[in-house]
Structure formats: structure tokens, C-alpha cells
């Protein structure tokens, strides 16, 4: 059986985590909903897949969101390092397009530790950095007929200080709560080999 989700989520503070997969945006949004205070979302300006605040409003209040449009990855990393180190923003979400090398990943970790903030990198699949604390894979799950269509499958595929696990979760946008759906005979890691 999987470990309890509450041991790993919300993510550990003072660390930088990674999430990949098609459900990464909703993972970040649900993480923001679990916290308080402003959220800084560092994007790369050329990326045309803009965030839609009305969609985010179902998960958390977009008034808390600040979006930084960086011209490139180096600037995006510099901005998120600055914000992590500063500590004024409890959660910094960074969109990454190129793999981080060990030095960049480590710098983000040190900045998060100095500022006691949480960092989350949205990465393309298979581009994880070795310095990350946990790496998640989030994907929408096709729920059975009649269920609502917010079901997600979250898996930890790398964890420096704990075990791996997989959970079926569902976001309730009236109660603004995350429900963990009991696994239907699924073992952790059976859908995908842990990485």
C-alpha cells in the first residue's frame, strides 16, 4: 500500500520539488491552494500557453498570484532564486524548459533553504534535476462513468527522504479540498517504473 499522502503533500518547506506530466499545472495550483500568502509563478515570456485565471479561480484565488515573465531560462532561474531566497513569497513555481544542471538545481535548493520557502519546478517529462527533493508525476485520470472529471493520479517518482507512492486524488472545487480516492487494488509504481 502507498504511504499516507499527508506525509508528502503539501510539499516539504525549504526545499525545491519537481513535477512533470500533463497534470503538472493543476498540481501546482492545488499546492498553492493548500498554502497561504502570495504565489509567484515564473514563466518564460515566449511560451504562449498562458495561465487562465478563471480556470485557476476554481482552485485558488488568482488575487494571490503574481506572474513573472522572464525572457529566458537563465532569467527565470535568477528570478526564482531571488524570490526563494527572499522569503516574502511562500511558494515559487518555475516553469522549466531545459534540464537543470547540478549547479543550478543546487543553487535553487540553497536559496529555498535560506528563505524557508517552497519551490516547485514544472519540468518537461524526463528532464529532472538530481538536486530535487521530490519529483512527482501528475496526470489526469479517466474516472469511471458518472464521477466528476477532476480526478488525477499523482505519483512520487523520486524522493530523497521518504518512500515512493501513488495516489488517486480528486479536487473538490466547491469545498476547495483535496480528496484521496482509495486505490482500487493498485500497487504503487505498477503503472510506471519508479525513476
Amino acid at each position: 500500500m502507498s504511504a499516507n499522502l499527508s506525509q508528502c503533500f503539501p510539499l516539504r518547506r525549504s526545499r525545491v520539488h519537481e513535477v512533470c506530466g500533463p497534470g503538472a499545472t493543476s498540481f501546482a495550483a492545488i499546492l498553492a491552494a493548500r498554502g497561504t500568502g502570495p504565489v509567484l509563478w515564473v514563466r518564460q515570456g515566449w511560451d504562449h500557453q498562458a495561465l487562465h485565471p478563471l480556470g485557476l479561480a476554481r482552485v485558488f484565488d488568482p488575487a494571490r498570484l503574481l506572474v513573472a515573465q522572464a525572457p529566458g531560462q537563465v532569467d527565470a532561474l535568477a528570478v526564482s532564486e531571488e524570490a526563494l531566497r527572499d522569503g516574502a513569497v511562500p511558494l515559487v513555481v518555475t516553469e522549466i524548459v531545459q534540464p537543470l544542471d547540478l549547479r543550478q538545481g543546487r543553487r535553487l535548493q540553497l536559496a529555498a533553504k535560506a528563505g524557508a520557502t517552497t519551490g516547485l519546478c514544472l519540468i518537461p517529462e524526463g528532464m529532472g534535476s538530481n538536486a530535487t527533493e521530490t519529483r512527482w508525476h501528475a496526470a489526469p485520470r479517466l474516472a469511471a462513468e458518472g464521477e466528476d472529471s477532476t480526478a488525477l493520479r499523482w505519483e512520487i517518482i523520486k524522493n530523497k527522504s521518504g518512500t515512493l507512492g501513488a495516489w488517486d486524488v480528486r479536487w473538490d472545487d466547491t469545498a476547495h479540498r483535496l480528496h484521496v480516492v482509495p486505490p482500487a487494488g493498485e500497487r504503487p509504481g505498477s503503472a510506471r517504473a519508479p525513476g
Binding site: P22, G23, T25, S26, A29, G37, P38, G45, H48, Q49, A50, L51, H52, P53, L54, G55, L56, A57, R58, V59, D61, P62, A63, R64, L65, L66, V67, A68, Q69, A70, P71, D75, A78, V79, E82, A83, D86, G87, A88, V89, A138, A139, P140, R141, L142, E145, S149, T150, L152
Partner: protein
Amino acid sequence: MWFPRLASDRALRARPVDGAPFALLLTQANAERLHCLNAPAEALGLYRGMSLADARAFCPDLITAPADPPREARFLSTLRRWATRYCPWVGIEGQDALVLDVTGATHLHGGEAAILEDMRARATRAGLSLRLGLGDTRGAAWALAHHGEGAAPPGDGLATLGPLPVEALRLAPDTVTGLQRLGLRRIADLAATPRAPLARRFGPEPLRRLDQALGAQPEPVTPEPDPPHYGVRLSLPEPIGRTEDVMAGAARLLEPLCAKLLAQEAGARVLTLSLRRVDGGSQSVELRLASPMRDAARILPLFARGVEAAEAGFGIDQLRLEATQVEALQVQQLGGPVAAGAAGGPALDDLVTRIGTRIGLENVQRFLPADSHIPERAFSIAPAAFSRAATGWHAPRPRPLRLFPPEPIAATGPRPPGRFRWRAMALDTARATGPERIAPEWWLPDDNWQRGVRDYWQVETRQGRRLWLFHTPQQPGWFVQGEFA
């Protein structure tokens, strides 16, 4: 000092017309009227307030340009600053005149005649027509400037002003007409008339103006305050080059600047630190702040990045710090509800400023709700430094988390396709929810909505993508516009 053609002189200084008739136009009551004319145009018989059509009939080759009253006001206040070279007590009179209290200042320029001569020479050189009047009182000077230029000898005001028409007393036009109907055409006539019947007939205004012109009633000149100047400078005996030294210099400059900002209840929004090098080169470090600030200890670290990037060369021997953009900032009680309750507070503003120095302050943005049912227009993006967080998000129906420009897919028919290819992925539809019809806002033309109404579908695929598709029934086609999750 009356500038009878201030507006047209200002326009002609920028673009001379070489003696051709020229006029500035102002739209009044839906008609274009002449606002200010140059001398050749006046010589042709045109006058102020004439409609443009009439003026064109008189003078077909009239050159016109639109008037710009705010710029004229700025030009006049520039002239006011210039006029402080004659005396410190300079006020603005109406829209096109300056009033100077030169008492005790004329000997510095060699007497009254010399000062008038100097003013006239300088105005002519600048291309401004100028009419001067010098008198014991403000009213006398106005009368002389507007009607028969000259200087009144001190003491005997009525002797000089007496022959002037009653218009010279700054009276309303209908009062002037009334006085003229009674046969009171000159100031001397008015002064000789019994006062009580005059006051009963015309009210106190003509007598007050007369007394002001003759000096029986005081009328002070109110000088305009100079706008506060937020700039400080530090000259160094020896050039410096190290970053720490420059920062120490900036710290010394910030203290008096912040004290001045505090005294004026203002906060700096944009600060410029100019570094002058020994070889005459100069560079400036601009700091744009996310909120108005006057706390030296908070501002100084924000300069660090810009100062590090500056090139010292052979050394820097002068620092100059100026608040180029200033906003009102009330004195706040520390730890009060305002300071504690604001979202983020000063720490967040500092962070936004620091990020802004790297990627540009306008690139740190927040979303504001907008009143539209069109998904792309239901929000607006504003720079976080210049807006406040707004609530009031209302999404009655599910909306995607990501929105992108519509990407066409190959499909036909009003129902979502069972299989389709999107971004080189073959996707199978497992469940489709919809349609939700959104009609374009016909009152706002939008190229993206050329295809008419859209039927939106939430499509869940077996491959795990949850997409927002729409079909345009008026010009059949299928597009992907957003992604849930």
C-alpha cells in the same frame, strides 16, 4: 508682462511660417474657432474667437494648427521661472501674462527703464511678442500693458491711467458696455463719478478695480511656489572606483533625499543615480520601485545590482541622485492596520522591485478580472507594481488552467471527433462534455472571432490529456484552445 500672442508664438518658435498668416484653432461648442493669431493674420482683419470658416473666407491661405492649452500653461510657467531673473516675486496673471513685483530689485539691472529694455530685448530674441506695463500697483501695470504701453511715474496714478479706456480696469465685458452707455469711457470719468450710485448700479466690482489700479486698495502679487526638486549631488575630491565606495556615496545621498521626501509627504517611484567619471563620461543607474518609497535603508540594497553593473573606468568623481518620478505617500503609523493588513506588504514590494530590475517591472504581472463572457477577455493583465489585487473572480462553468491561441485539428461534424491528432499526438476521446455555446461580442470587432459562435466541449482523452475544444458551426472547423489539469 503681457504676451499677447503667447500660444501662436510658442507654436511658431517650433515651426516658423515666414510672415504668412497663422492661427491656432480651439474647438469650442462644436465649432473650430481661432484661438491665437500671429501679427500678419491680425493685420488681415482676423480676430480671436472668429470661426474658422469665416476666417478662411477672409484669408484663404491661412495656416492653422490645433491649440494645446496644457502646453501653453507649461510654457507660461517656464517663462515664470525665467522671469525670476529679474526679481524673486513672480506670479502668473491669467493665461498669458506674468506679474512681477520689482520693488527694490530694479537697481540691480540699472533702473526701471533698463529693466524694461532688457525684458523687451530678450523676449524679441526668443521670438515672443511682449507688451510691458510698469506701475505702482498691479492694476495699473495691467492697464498699461494692455492699453498703451508705458511706465507710470510713481505717486500720481490717475494722471497716467486717466486717459485709458475703462476696459483697462479688468472688468467683465457687460460691465464695460454698461459704463460706456452711461458715457463713462475713460478711467478719469469713472474716478470723477460719485461712488454710491455707481456701486448701486454696477455692484462693487468697478470701484474695487479702480481702487486697486489707483493704489487705494492693496492687491498682492502671489508668487507661484517652485515645485520641490528631489535631487542631491556629491562631488568627490578623489575619484572612487570600488562598488562599496559608490554604495557608501549613494547611502550618503539617500539620507537627505529621503528626509526631503518625508517633509513633502512624497515617495520616490523612479530614482536615477548618475555617476560622472573623471574622463567626462557619465552613466546612470535607474531604479524603478514597485511602490512609492522613502526609506533609505530599504532603497539602498536595491541599488546594488545596478551599481555593480556600472563601469567605473578611471574613477568616479561625482554622484548625483535624483527622484525623477515622485508620488504622494502619506505618513503612516508603523505597525498600524494598514501596514499589517496589506497583501504582501513591504517585503513583497522589495522583492518585486528586485525582480523588476532584472526582467523589467512591467513583466511582473497580476491578473485582474474583466467583465466579459469571452474566455480570452475575461481577465486583464496589469503590472503588479501599478495595480492592486482584485477579487471578484466568477467562473460559473469549468474553464481550463491553460489557454493558448486556437490550434486547428482535422475533424468534421458537430460532435467531438472520436480520434484526432493534436501536437503530433494521436488522441482518443473517452468522454466529451458540452456543448457550451459562446457567442462573440459583436460590439467589439475581434479578428479571432471571425468564425462566429463557438461550441465548447470538454474532452477527456484516453491518453490522459484533458482538452478544451471548440467547434465553429458557422464556418465548420475544430480547434483546441485550452488544457485542463
